[in-house]
């Protein structure tokens, strides 16, 4: 046991001094993943905000010429400011951003409407500004809707069914709720956490196996009077430690990043309090020995550092497969799925985000299966180290 501790301490210390291990374990996973996630959430939240009807300020020249139109617009959240401006002054006001939108009602608006000939209104806007373009779309669609209402009334007055001028009507029905939209994005958290965790232990797993063999330090190590299995366990433990650090950092930075994003306004509620983070760490950590064992196993079979690196790059995708398959099949948490490592971690992460609690027996099953599988893999690796071929 003391030998395991000795090997663990040395591997841990040595890799703390290795820039490549450090940047992947402490920077790549824990910083870039959460940044990407919170960036996407910020985007979703912003869109939500825009869905809500904001008052739309419009400056109107000669409002008295179209009282009905203005009443209609006010009914749909348009904030009308009556102004007296010449055409030139209206243009200047928009250019100087004094007013975003200026609606000018011409003198003959009422008479043309009464004659039932097209009645123009003039709208000054600045297309260079994206924000105004959105307001413009909203205002012009309101005005044309008003026009359509008049058209329908005119047809009805002539005994024609207003339906004839609307042969096809597209009615989009958005069934997503702000929460479900946010959850699609938050579902990525599982991938981010898995990747960050595996990346954290990857270079150590390579360095301790293929790297040690390539450097020629494995042979002297094997001439020391300790069991080969203990050397292996010490190395895997060091990998586990780095994975745990990555896991804790990733979830903490995610919690920190999300605290800077205003999600409440968009109706998205995400609980990322310290207790939830702790819960997430506790449910994800049982995967660590399995991940570390698998990476060490694969790296032990390779001949060189580079080969190990490319194989592990591919192997890192394996734990994300159950997640992808489950989302395609629409799997829901159940007792059976809790026996699938990485998938059970995903379900538990999502449940924790929603503030739901899964049955304790499910959590125990998930942890138990992961730990057992992990110990089994570690035992296989220790058997592998008994072989003479391990020297390469």
């Amino acid at each position: 046991m003391r030998a395991i501790w000795t090997v663990f301490r040395k591997e841990f210390l040595e890799n703390l001094r290795d820039r490549r291990t450090l940047t992947t374990a402490l920077l790549l996973g824990p910083v870039f993943g959460p940044l990407m996630l919170s960036g996407l959430l910020q985007f979703v939240a912003q869109r939500e905000q825009e869905r809500l009807d904001k008052p739309l300020p419009v400056a109107v020249v000669h409002a008295e010429r179209a009282p009905n139109l203005l009443t209609y617009l006010k009914g749909y959240g348009v904030e009308v400011t009556e102004v007296k401006l010449s055409d030139e002054a209206a243009q200047n006001a928009v250019e100087s951003r004094q007013h975003r939108l200026v609606l000018v009602i011409p003198e003959d608006f009422g008479s043309r409407l009464a004659e039932q000939s097209p009645a123009p209104v003039y709208l000054y806007y600045d297309a260079a500004s994206l924000d105004d373009a959105r307001s413009l779309r909203r205002l012009s669609s309101l005005v044309s809707k008003y026009g359509q209402t008049i058209a329908q009334l005119r047809l009805a007055a002539r005994g024609v069914d207003p339906g004839v001028i609307a042969p096809i009507v597209v009615q989009g029905i958005d069934v997503s709720t702000p929460r479900s939209r946010a959850e699609t994005v938050l579902g990525m958290l599982s991938y981010i956490v898995m990747f960050a965790m595996l990346l954290g232990g990857m270079y150590l797993a390579i360095d301790a196996t293929a790297g040690e063999r390539e450097r020629g330090s494995l042979e002297p190590l094997l001439t020391t009077p300790i069991a080969r299995a203990h050397i292996v366990y010490g190395k895997i433990l060091a990998s586990c430690a780095f994975m745990l650090i990555s896991l804790v950092l990733t979830l903490s930075t995610t919690a920190l990043a999300l605290s800077y994003i205003k999600l409440d306004g968009a109706g998205i509620a995400v609980d990322f309090s310290p207790s939830v983070v702790l819960h997430m760490i506790a449910t994800t950590a049982p995967f660590i020995p399995l991940g570390a064992g698998l990476m060490t196993l694969i790296a032990s079979f390779t001949r060189s550092y580079r080969e190990a690196q490319s194989w592990l790059g591919i192997a890192m995708l394996v734990p994300t497969l159950p997640l992808a398959i489950a989302s395609v099949l629409g799997l829901k948490p159940s007792l059976a799925t809790m026996a699938i490592p990485s998938l059970s971690q995903h379900f538990q992460l999502m449940a924790a985000l929603r503030g739901e609690t899964l049955p304790l027996s499910w959590m125990l099953l998930s942890a138990g299966v992961c730990l057992l599988a992990g110990f089994f893999i570690c035992w296989i690796v220790s058997r592998l180290y008994q072989r003479e071929a391990i020297l390469g």
Binding site: L13, E219, L221, T224, P225, I226, L391
Partner: protein, 243 residues
Amino acid sequence: MIEARQLRKSFGAVEAVRDVSFAAPNGRITGLLGPNGAGKSTTLRMLSTILAPQSGAALIDGIDTRTDPLAARRALGVLTHQSGLYPNLTARENILYFAELHGMPRPERLRRADELIEQLDMREFATRRVKGFSQGQRIKTALARALVHGPKNIMLDEPTNGLDVMAVRNLRALLNRLRDSGHCVLFSSHVMQEIAWLCEEVVVIAGGRVLAAGTPDAIRERTGAAHLEDAFVSLIGDAEGML
């Protein structure tokens, strides 16, 4: 005392060591001389318990490496072909790591590391990371690491590879010192002059067999050659049909 008794080892179809027997006594420097691919490294690896012999036995101070490998390792210090140091640890940390693996208590580890750093004249670079060491500094560090647990038997696999003349001289002085204090020193080389210069006992091996063993003079006499080099060539030539 290091002893090989009819060691045999093959890797698949390749018979690396067919029949190697010799004894390296205490207080002597024994050289294992042979061309590349003669089976020197494989023999040393069996003696250092890293490989298990297919038949025959390897004994360190009478301890069979197969029945009690851990005890054999405690009695043996090994300098492998590549120095195999950890680049991100300092020379001192490399030494201390092995001391700890040998189960030495902390005060003893520190005392022993300082002692070796002093003996091997390593003070200048002892607290520097191994990354960027010269070949000579590496060999010294690896040697200190191999000696840290105070083994009676020392085995070195081609230790002079890549060393300059001064470093080889230093190594010779060090090996002489170990011999004088009663250690058993066994080292392998394919460079004839080195063996002639350093060793009191020579074991010539080629094709996985021992061709001759004894003092350089005895081998010269047996082959009727004026120089050890000629003796070596005539032995190897016979064995491999090279000449």
